[in-house]
Structure formats: structure tokens, C-alpha cells
């Protein structure tokens, strides 16, 4: 059972990361801006999955399943950017 304090800390981290997303969007990083947004979003979703959805304490098989899904999505995004970056 995760302590209430941990949930609050994770929530604050999510808010801070949202602020970081907005800030990064304003920096005009060019083609890197998408990468920055995706990285921050990945950290945020990892926090939600690990703490709020309790994936930390789940069986290994579920972690593997999620890993497969995340890896597939990462490869799909990468391949899409092979088009966008080299167009």
C-alpha cells in the first residue's frame, strides 16, 4: 500500500512536469521540440502507471506486456519521424 504522502509527491511532480512541457514548448527548439515533449510525457505516464495504477507491485508478466506495448509505440513514432525529419 502506497502512503498518501507518496501520491501527493507524485502529483506535485506531474504538475511540475506539465509546467516543464509548457516551458519547453516556448523555447522554439525546432525539430527537437517534439522529442522534448515526448520525453516529458513518457516520464509523466511512467509515474502514473507506476504509482497511481500500481504497476510497481504487479506481476512481471504485466510489466512485460506493457513494455511490449510501449516499445511498439516507440518504434512506430520513430518510423513516422523518419519521414518528417528527412522530408
Amino acid at each position: 500500500m502506497t502512503a498518501l504522502g507518496t501520491y501527493v509527491k507524485v502529483w506535485l511532480a506531474l504538475i511540475a512536469l506539465t509546467g516543464l512541457t509548457v516551458t519547453a514548448a516556448g523555447l522554439h527548439l525546432g525539430s527537437l521540440s517534439v522529442l522534448a515533449a515526448i520525453l516529458i510525457a513518457s516520464v509523466k505516464s511512467s509515474l502514473v502507471l507506476s504509482f497511481f495504477m500500481n504497476l510497481r507491485s504487479e506481476e512481471r508478466v504485466f510489466k512485460v506486456m506493457l513494455g511490449v506495448a510501449m516499445a511498439t509505440m516507440a518504434v512506430i513514432m520513430l518510423l513516422t519521424f523518419v519521414d518528417v525529419w528527412y522530408r
Partner: protein
């Protein structure tokens, strides 16, 4: 070695549950009844799709306007594609035969979530109803093609919004089935049913289920974006407002190419069941076939860009996707070699299910090789958007999945309905279908190579002779289909009573009564051997 499953109880067809009449079907959570519900629904839509296809071929029998106007023709090929893909071939084998046989093949009494299973059928019916409504409401039947490409799909006055919403809803049915199958295979295998004792049809359903779960949400989101574009004008796909029309094509094909493997993988699984049974041989290369299903499912995610070679995508992306496309042919080739090797020196019984299966291998190989021509960047530029592509994917989808759906029907019909199907009419149906199919689609390959574009109701006069052959082929094919389904319909009532194991099969479904008892097994079996150990099975009665 006999498997202890307890005494047979009343069959699922005769069982009197809480509900009566039609309600005993549409409210049943029995996986077998849901399988039959799906089978009936998708074959009904198949009939409509075939009818539209025949009318399209009739329009193309001569240049110019023969039967329908250009606008109506555009709606017809859109409808034909939508019905055949979303309502027939994607649910196809997994929803009908997967639902019916998956629990039996792994020694379970039902799927993991029976109510979710029934919900998936209801969602399918709801999606289908919306698709039908989209024809008669708003601006009329959509005319974009089943791909709903932006920007045209955002601007056409036809009822794209509702049609897209229908596909969106249908996607959820597919996702629910996928979740159910993954969970069932992980959690409900009988004691001793290890991963490498699973029948290969189950492996193919497993790989398919993962594609359904991971890829379908992308389609759902993409179609939702189209709806939002049409309703509130987001501008995501509009270059004038900073959007990117190619983004639509990427998102659409990220789902729709893996969807091709949702369609073909279960068909390949059925091949791997039928060939050992009718050659009475242990399957050659069990693990290679099992892992090639997973490999096809995985690599299938990485090749969607081959639908976009002429779209203006970057050169780097084009050669990367072309390279990856060649990779997906490798696991497909592994399967074909293993099937042929299983037949080698087997005691082959050319009963109708095997005959249809061998046709699958032949037609699928033509589909596969023309796929390589389409997937190679250089040759694709020549045949892109021509009738060649139409011929190619019909060889894969109809010659492949369609013929295997017929083979699966012939193979499992005695188990599902407790009646045998007479062989002679099925040989005649096969002859008509095989000749009709090739006469219909092979000319398209030639016509496309000659430069005839697809999706036009008109063509240059020099293309007419082959178009006449193609149209005549559609009539022969339709006749074959009529013989096939009339024979099945009659067999349902008047066929000989089927024994439990008419083909001498070794997988679990043949160890229980025909038709199966309500809960499949009185006692959950304990599995002590692989799925294709023919040395231990008594010969056919």
C-alpha cells in the same frame, strides 16, 4: 492415449438456458453461440459485399457509363471496402472460429470474460447498424474509399462522419475480442497445456489478439480526429493551418497495415490445423510456425509506409519502409515451407478442407509475390494506384483469408453443427470458385501493369477485353459461392450425423462430442502430449 473429459452432457445447440428463441442466442454468453452469431452476421455482410462487387464488375464490363454514374460507383467501392474489411474479414476467422474453438482447443470451458465477449458482438452489431445508417442519412453514402483519406474526407458532402464513427465503434468490438483472447490464452489453459503444446491456430489467435489490442486504438483515435476535423475544423490535417495531410495517411496505415495481419494470421493458423490432420503427419517446424506468427505480427507494425510511396513522403522513409517490407516476407515464407514439408510423405487425404487449403497456399503465394512487386519501391511507382494493387490484395485477402474461411467452415462444420457436409458439391464449388477467382483477379494484375488506374468507373477502350474476362470471372465465382453456401445450408438440416472425430484429428476439439456439450468438458482435461501426435490417435472411422 485417451484424454479424460468426463461424460458428454447436452449439446450447446439443444441446451435450454434462461432465454428462449432468438434471445437464447443474442443474450447467450456461451462462446460457441457467440461464435455462431458472429459467423452468421459476417457471412450476411459478406453476401452484401459480394453483391456490390458483382455490380461494380458489371459496370466495368464496357468503357463509359454502363450501369451506374461515377458518383454511385465511388460510393460502391467505398461500401464494398468498408463492408468486406470492417464487417467481414477483420472479425472473420478470429471472431467466428476463434470464439468457437479457442476455449475448446486449450481445454477451457469458456473465454476469460464471457460477458465482454457478448458485448463485443453487440458492439459489432451497433457499428454495423451505424454503417448502414450512414448510407441513407446526411449527404448519402460516403465516396472516399474505405481509407477516408484527408483532405477529401474532410470536404466531401457525403456522410463520412457517420461512416467513420461506425468504423470507430467496430474497432472497439475488435479490441474487446483481442483482450479476451490474450487473457484466455494466458489464464485458462488446461493443466499440462504448456505454450508449446498449444495448437498452432491458438498461437495465430494470440499474435492476432495482440495486434488487435495494440493497433486498433490508433485507428479509433485517427477516425475521431477526422470526425473532429469535420465538425469543429481542428486543422490537424490541413496544410494551410499548419497541419499535415500526410499525418492522416501515417496514422491510418499504422493501424490498417497491421490489420492485414489481423486478417491473414488466423487464416494461417487454420492452415496449420488442417494440413497435419489430412496428411496425418506431425506438423513440420512447430516452433518455427509459432514464432513466425509473432514475427509477422511484430514486423507487420513496421511496414505501413509502403502504402505511401507516392504520397510525397521523404526518400529516406521510402527506402526504410521498402526494406522492412521485404523482411515481412521471410516469416510468411517460413510458414509456407513448413506446410509443404508437413505434406511431404504424408498419407494425404484430399478431402474438401485440404483442397481449399492447398488453394490457399497457391493463391496466397501469388498474393505474396505480387506483394513484393508492390512493396519494392521502384516497381511500386509503376503500379501504384492501378488495378494491379486491387488484384494483389484480393489474392491475399480473398484468395488467402477468404478461401481459408471456407476451408475452416468445411473442417469444423461437423463439430459446430453435428452434421457432415457432402464432398461432391464442395469439389464442384471449389472448381467454380477457383476458376472464377483467377479469371476475375488475374486480369487485374495485367491491366494494372498495362496502366489501368483503380477506382474509376471508366477506362480506355484498349483495356476492355481483359475487363470482360474479369467480369465473366465474377459470375463464375458467384456461382461457386452459391453452390458452396446452398450445400452448407442443406447440410445443416439434412447432412449425415457427424461422429465426434470425422477427420481423425488430434487436437482437443475432436475429443469431445459433435456438436460440443454446453461447457465443452465435464472435467477439465489434463494434457500430456503435443497437439499433433498422430501415432496415438485411432484411425478415421
Amino acid at each position: 492415449m485417451a484424454i479424460d473429459i468426463g461424460a458428454a452432457e447436452v449439446s450447446y445447440l439443444e441446451h435450454r438456458g434462461v432465454h428462449r428463441g432468438i434471445a437464447s442466442w443474442v443474450l447467450s454468453t456461451d462462446h460457441k453461440r457467440i461464435g455462431i452469431l458472429y459467423l452468421t452476421s459476417l457471412l450476411s455482410f459478406f453476401a452484401v459485399g459480394v453483391l456490390i462487387g458483382i455490380l461494380m464488375r458489371l459496370e466495368l464490363i464496357a468503357p463509359g457509363e454502363t450501369l451506374v454514374s461515377a458518383r454511385v460507383y465511388n460510393s460502391m467501392f467505398t461500401l464494398h471496402g468498408m463492408i468486406m474489411i470492417f464487417l467481414f474479414i477483420i472479425p472473420g476467422i478470429p471472431a467466428a472460429f476463434g470464439n468457437f474453438f479457442l476455449p475448446i482447443l486449450i481445454g477451457a470451458k469458456d473465454v476469460a470474460f464471457p460477458r465482454l465477449n457478448l458485448l463485443s458482438w453487440w458492439v459489432y452489431v451497433a457499428g454495423a447498424t451505424l454503417a448502414v445508417l450512414s448510407l441513407f442519412s446526411g449527404g448519402g453514402a460516403p465516396d472516399t474509399g474505405w481509407t477516408f483519406y484527408a483532405p477529401y474526407s474532410l470536404r466531401t458532402g457525403t456522410n463520412v462522419t457517420l461512416a467513420v464513427f461506425a468504423a470507430f465503434v467496430l474497432g472497439f468490438s475488435s479490441i474487446l475480442t483481442g483482450i479476451n483472447f490474450v487473457t484466455t490464452i494466458h489464464r485458462l489453459r488446461a493443466p499440462g497445456m504448456s505454450w508449446f503444446r498449444l495448437p498452432l491456430f491458438v498461437w495465430s489467435l494470440y499474435a492476432t489478439a495482440w495486434v488487435q489490442v495494440l493497433a486498433t486504438p490508433i485507428l479509433a483515435l485517427t477516425l475521431m480526429l477526422v470526425m473532429l476535423e469535420r465538425i469543429v475544423g481542428l486543422g490537424l490535417f490541413d496544410a494551410a493551418r499548419g497541419g499535415d495531410p500526410l499525418l492522416y495517411q501515417h496514422l491510418f496505415w499504422i493501424y490498417s497495415h497491421p490489420a492485414v495481419y489481423i486478417m491473414i494470421l488466423p487464416a494461417m493458423g487454420v492452415v496449420s490445423e488442417i494440413i497435419p490432420t489430412f496428411s496425418r503427419q506431425k506438423i513440420f517446424g512447430y516452433k518455427a510456425i509459432a514464432f513466425s506468427s509473432l514475427a509477422i505480427a511484430f514486423v507487420g507494425y513496421l511496414v505501413w509506409g509502403h502504402h505511401m510511396y507516392t504520397s510525397g513522403m521523404s526518400d529516406t522513409a521510402r527506402w526504410v519502409f521498402s526494406l522492412l517490407t521485404f523482411l515481412v516476407a521471410v516469416p510468411s515464407g517460413i510458414k509456407v515451407f513448413n506446410w509443404v514439408a508437413t505434406l511431404y510423405k504424408g498419407a494425404i487425404d484430399l478431402a474438401p478442407p485440404l483442397l481449399y487449403t492447398l488453394s490457399f497456399i497457391f493463391l496466397f503465394m501469388i498474393g505474396g509475390f505480387t506483394g513484393l512487386i508492390s512493396g519494392a519501391l521502384a516497381t511500386n511507382l509503376h503500379i501504384h494506384d492501378t488495378a494491379f494493387v486491387v488484384g494483389h490484395f484480393h489474392y491475399v485477402m480473398f484468395g488467402g483469408t477468404g478461401f481459408m474461411l471456407f476451408a475452416a467452415l468445411l473442417y469444423w462444420f461437423p463439430k459446430m453443427f453435428g452434421r457432415m457436409v457432402p464432398a461432391r458439391p464442395m469439389w464442384l464449388a471449389w472448381l467454380l470458385m477457383f476458376i472464377g477467382f483467377n479469371a476475375l483477379y488475374f486480369p487485374m494484375l495485367i491491366l494494372g501493369w498495362m496502366g489501368m488506374p483503380r477506382r474509376y468507373y471508366d477506362y480506355l477502350p484498349r483495356f476492355q477485353p481483359l475487363n470482360v474476362v474479369s467480369t465473366a470471372g465474377s459470375w463464375v465465382l458467384a456461382l461457386g459461392l452459391a453452390v458452396f453456401f446452398v450445400t452448407l445450408w442443406r447440410a445443416r438440416r439434412h447432412g449425415e450425423i457427424a461422429p465426434a472425430n470425422p477427420w481423425g484429428g488430434s487436437t482437443l476439439e475432436w475429443q469431445i462430442a459433435s456438436p460440443p456439450p454446453v461447457e465443452n468438458f465435464e472435467r477439465i482435461p489434463v494434457i500430456e502430449r503435443g497437439p499433433y501426435e498422430y501415432g496415438e490417435i485411432p484411425p478415421v472411422e
